[in-house]
Symmetry: C2
Subunit: 475 residues, 2 copies
């Protein structure tokens, strides 16, 4: 990018600059924490959310749409739940020139909007499992520093899924399925992640436990990118969601819910981009290929342009999102423009290429350059896409792995976390030790590594370790 902002050392500046330069979102809306998606940014957003939808539909989750406004009485029914959102809710008390009979909350999340209707929809064991999702705007009056796509007061693209099941075993299996959905999703985005069980003091309010996905951003801080909650029967008892079992008995359903916000888009931008601009896995690039004619003289012009258009047409017809840049700009300026926008593959066709009946392919992620026959553009491009996918994911994973270190003492932890990243330690499982550790390390416990067992005693109290925990500075 112009301005030469280094992504690693000045990530926050780099991030703001790339959102602006590449037209992802506009931050100039006159209300704090509300942002506007540009056309380019929204194309990216749609490509990412299309995959999320596909994964939900493929596992039997149906899309629905619930209202935004929640009556105060509904929101307040589950006490633990409401307590945690109390500070964060936007309230409507009036409309037109009337005071409303009851204040309406803008949903911070939809449990209390949905579950009263679940009680109507779910009658019998044959209605289970019941699995739905929606992609909506939700609202939280964040008091921390707001940031586009990361901490918004209008969460513009909240995917929330909600499920109901016969018993705890079925709910547990759903948690596994949800972990699989999110793993597939982030794998396809090339985003590395931790899966951990949040400590009890950091679980979703009203849930039995929370499983979280976190990634590491270039500034070394962990970003929560997805959460999965086992709600047990807490909400079904509050909202009376019962079904008739095989024996004719009424039973409370066991529920789960799991959510992802536009942080998944922030992660793609932050994890893969470089000092030149955006980098995308080809599947998610709004433009996947740009064809650039390299013209030195008038006599070549027509033939080169024709060849470029032929290549474009072939790629087009294979469903590849390809553009041809026939603008008057110099090639260098064109390269810069499409690199900034993260176009995974550039095809250059100049006089020497024509002579040799080849095209020159340049990968955005590595700058790697090669000649390929003009004969099979689709096949050649798809081969490159596969390589790009692998390279991007590997680079991100290697970088992630380098930034996770096992520690045996808190001193080691302090030192390690000063370089950013996450540390892993053995823990007895007690909240007092956890809280002290967070304070000493000036960091947060992400959670216990799923299915981990301690190999040593608790780093804090020296008593028998229960499992391994991840600790990092967080967003």
């Amino acid at each position: 990018m112009a301005g030469e902002i280094d992504k690693k050392s000045s990530f926050s500046n780099w991030y703001n600059e790339i959102l602006k330069k590449a037209n992802i979102v506009d931050v100039r809306y006159p209300v704090k924490g509300l942002y506007t998606w540009h056309p380019f940014g929204f194309k990216l957003r749609n490509l990412v959310y299309d995959e999320l939808k596909r994964l939900h539909e493929g596992t039997g989750h149906d899309e629905v749409r619930f209202p935004l406004l929640i009556p105060e009485a509904n929101l307040q029914k589950e006490s633990e739940h409401v307590a945690s959102f109390e500070e964060e809710v936007f309230w409507i008390d009036r409309a037109g020139k009337n005071e409303l009979d009851e204040p309406l909350a803008l949903r911070p999340t939809s449990e209390t909007a949905m579950y009263p209707l679940f009680a109507e929809w779910i009658r019998s064991h044959t209605d289970l499992p019941f699995k739905i999702y929606q992609i909506v705007n939700t609202f939280r009056y964040e008091t921390k520093h707001t940031r586009p796509l990361i901490r918004e007061r209008e969460i513009s693209s909240f995917k929330e899924a909600h499920t109901a099941h016969k018993g705890p075993e079925e709910a547990r299996k759903q948690i596994e399925e949800s972990i699989e959905i999110y793993s597939s999703f982030f794998d396809s985005l090339g985003i590395p992640y931790f899966v951990s069980k949040r400590p009890s003091w950091d679980k979703f309010p009203g849930s039995e436990y929370t499983i979280a996905f976190d990634t590491l951003m270039p500034d070394g801080k962990a970003l929560q990118i997805g959460t999965i909650h086992n709600l047990g029967t807490n909400f079904s008892k509050t909202f009376d969601v019962q079904y008739e079992d095989e024996e004719g008995e009424q039973q409370y359903v066991h529920q789960t819910c799991f959510g992802i916000s536009a942080r998944c888009v922030a992660a793609v931008i932050g994890v893969h981009g470089d000092n030149t601009g955006l980098i995308f896995p080809p599947k998610y690039a709004p433009t996947q290929v740009v064809v650039i004619p390299i013209i030195f003289s008038d006599e070549d012009e027509e033939e080169i342009l024709q060849t470029c258009r032929d290549v474009k047409r072939e790629l087009d017809s294979a469903g590849i999102r390809v553009e041809i840049d026939e603008s008057e700009d110099r090639p260098g300026k064109k390269f810069y423009k499409w690199e900034l926008k993260g176009t995974p593959l550039r095809i250059e066709i100049g006089p020497r290429d024509l002579e040799n009946e080849v095209m020159t392919l340049v990968r955005r992620n590595s700058g790697d350059k090669k000649q390929k026959s003009l004969e099979n553009p689709v096949e050649n491009v798809e081969d490159e896409f596969k390589k790009i996918d692998r390279e991007i994911a590997k680079k991100a994973q290697d970088n992630f792995n380098e930034n996770v270190r096992e520690i045996e003492t808190t001193n080691e932890g302090v030192k390690s976390l000063s370089d950013g990243g996450a540390v892993i330690a053995d823990w007895c499982g007690k909240k007092t030790c956890g809280k002290e550790l967070e304070e000493e390390l000036s960091a947060d416990i992400l959670g216990s590594v799923v299915d981990s067992e301690a190999t040593d005693s608790c780093i804090k109290c020296g008593e028998a370790g229960e499992n391994k925990i991840l600790i990092a500075k967080t967003y």
Copy 2:
């Protein structure tokens, strides 16, 4: 439908019943005018809006997403605009435990949210035409009787497009393009419509004029299903949206905006459905084909099921949305279920069909039944789809035409409107005559037929007629 509600004579009951029985939307949400889309309804909604998106993208409109909340000061900048929405706006004054510095409105429409940013985005004549759209929830505190998909307080699926142009001629051409987009859209839905210019007292507040699309519902009332507004420079002057023209001069852009809500879905349901249930053009049917095995004896069962599955597989692979109903229900019950849901084509395969190597095709819209060879299921189904499309559209158009009558006296008008439908009359163009006419007919002037000229004198004052107007009772 069970209950035998007649669509024509008890449309309101029929409509409520079909929304419920076919799982379109649930009306049991505890806030007036807010509704919940069921999975089946939302599939229909997505199919309809996908076509709307395709038509916008195909004409160079880019999708964006603006925030929901509008600061009071912005909303109040355009005086005519705000005056008309004053009674309809939901207001947020507090969040968490804080009073907000400035009240925030839930958007009733997005002009005042968008155009301050347009002033940043549009700089030069090379940025024009500028064309964007979004599909969002908007809010109006309706005081009239609310109705799902027709008059909602949370308009759950508002498509609003906004454009900016160099001058009045370019804006006028955009209006033509927008009329074409909406015409293509409603044509593909098989929905007949009037295109008229709303009278001056009924135009969009802040616009120069409004072109509207209206259809006729089975109760004989007109339903506005789309509007297109020429904003001239009213808003660009208010929000200072200027561009530098070819001569280096600053000029105000000429703007248009045009919107469609879920009323398009209400129209599809209302116009095409019958006493048995829903009827859809195949393109919009969540399930396009259902295959039903007709099994009389155990010995046939395996072969019939296998043939059904083969047919399904072939249709599947051609991208046709097909289901096979292998439930234990009797065929009659299955027929009823899929008819209620508007599945355009039923394929029955029984022992006699197998013997003759045919399948039986039954069209939902007409009950028309025929045998076709099992050889080319895809081709046969696509042929039927085309016929269904034509038949549905023709039936709707014939019915529409029958319900539009030219009148020469107000008495004729009163009589004609008592049967429902719309009447056409010559008009001098004066508001006094228009208003008197509306009162005498207990109906609303939809507008003047676009490009019409009067063939007689004004029905009201007898002076020279200006053009022909449409009058109907309205939703």
